[in-house]
Amino acid sequence: MRAIIKRDFKAYFNSPIAYVLIGLYMLLLGMFFNSFLGLGISDFMSEFVASMGSTLIIIVPILTMRTLAEDKKNGTEVLLLTSPVRVTEIVLGKFFACYCVFLVMTAVTLIFPLIVIIEGKPDIILIVCSYLGYVLIGAVYISLGVFASSLTENQIIASIITLVSIFLIQNIGYLAGFFSGFLNKVFLWISILDRYLDFIRGIVDLTSIVFMFSYTAVFIILTIRVIERKRWSQG
């Protein structure tokens, strides 16, 4: 697993993709940051992190589209699957490589709270909570992206599937409004955005953390199933 994480992580930084992504990301966030500053609110950092979460809908598809799709296209899938490693290790390796890139990107964004902390007196605990939520929702989106990437060998299609799916799970909470009773509860329960906003508000609930982990685990398990199933396929 470590070999795969190392290789994939390096591959991001050996190609322009990581730099382009980080550049794009910082550009977007810089613009957000600037407009937040213009509002004249003193404690806007958690709102800012919330907006970081929404930019992930563009960032994550670009980040994850190559993971498994590229291996399928290169034929390196054969190398991975005929090596003495389990499919679980392969998928986790791919996931963590992406996640590490994501964490590097997140680390770069720490410059914004740093500026605020130096220049003002924000609620640091609130910032930490928001970032925790952000890092967790990032894991969910990335696992979703890895899953999408396992479905196709076309990176463009993988990224579109990821984008649409992130949009769907972000907005599934709105659907709850159209229903009542049981369905309403189900939609609210699976709504990822409400949980995320809890973190932004500074509410760190163990169930929310478990919720995010479970979401991630579900997509990772689905990815493993997709790869295993293909090996057993009859068609």
Binding site: A3, K10, A11, S15, N74, L79, L81, T82, P84, V85
Partner: protein
Amino acid sequence: MIEIQNLTKEYGRIKAIDNISFNVEKGEILGFLGPNGAGKTTTMNIITGFISSTSGVVKVAGVDILENPVEVKRHIGYLPEQPPLYPDMTVNEYLDFCANLKKIPSKKWKSQKKDIMELVKVTHVSHRLIKNLSKGYKQRVGFAQAMVGSPEVLILDEPTVGLDPKQIMEIRNLIKLLGKKHTVILSSHILPEVSAVCDRVVIINRGKIAAIDTPDNLSKSLTDFSRFTVTIEGPENKVKNIISNIYGVKYLKTSSRIKDNEYSYIVEADKNIDVRKPMFYQLAQQGMPILELKSLNLSLEEVFLQLTTSEEKEAV
């Protein structure tokens, strides 16, 4: 070393391979011969654990691939038809990655890496990006990848496709060299290649085994002159008289008249007696020259073609 029993792989209603069984002994080079789409790659993909079979058993070094796939994969180095390379890595980085992936202890790998790279002659390109290498070098890097960790079994899917004649010779020599230490399964649709390199040949067609034998036995038909046609200048009944009196000739028939005084005949002789020499001398003495002599037995190519096309005709 490798046991394959009643292996079947179905894709929907199509049987890609159909009830195949064979064994490969330790230290043997087995050739896997068949036209495109015969099921060679499918079989190899199953042995290496890349895809699974519909039914049947594959055992490598006594371990069942379904029971303990990781253990089986440890014993196998696989070079697929398209070498599984990462174009954005250098040869060095790529091979290091393969060694990590196959969990080779780093000490062991350090000494082994040098040997492998020298053996496949990629040492001088080790710092170049794989995407900038030529097809031949890519193939060699793929080879090196299969040899990482010195697995007991090497499985090579059409290792010489797309190479130039010199590279083909080099790769063949390399395979022969490797065959001394490793068990090798090699697939090809080029017949002379298989007969040049392999100890034993499995001819496969439409998912079924058409023949298993040594290349020697398969090519015996090439030197078997028990049935042949011969064209001789000379009066028909005189020629017939001479030939039919040669010891060993069992059957003689005029097949066609080519021109005046020139006929071709079909001759069948005892399998153990070569009648060609006495025939030549006796006819020469009488001033009747042999103009053409051709075996009616099938050449290895024809054996192969016949084995692999007869069923197609049935299916059509």
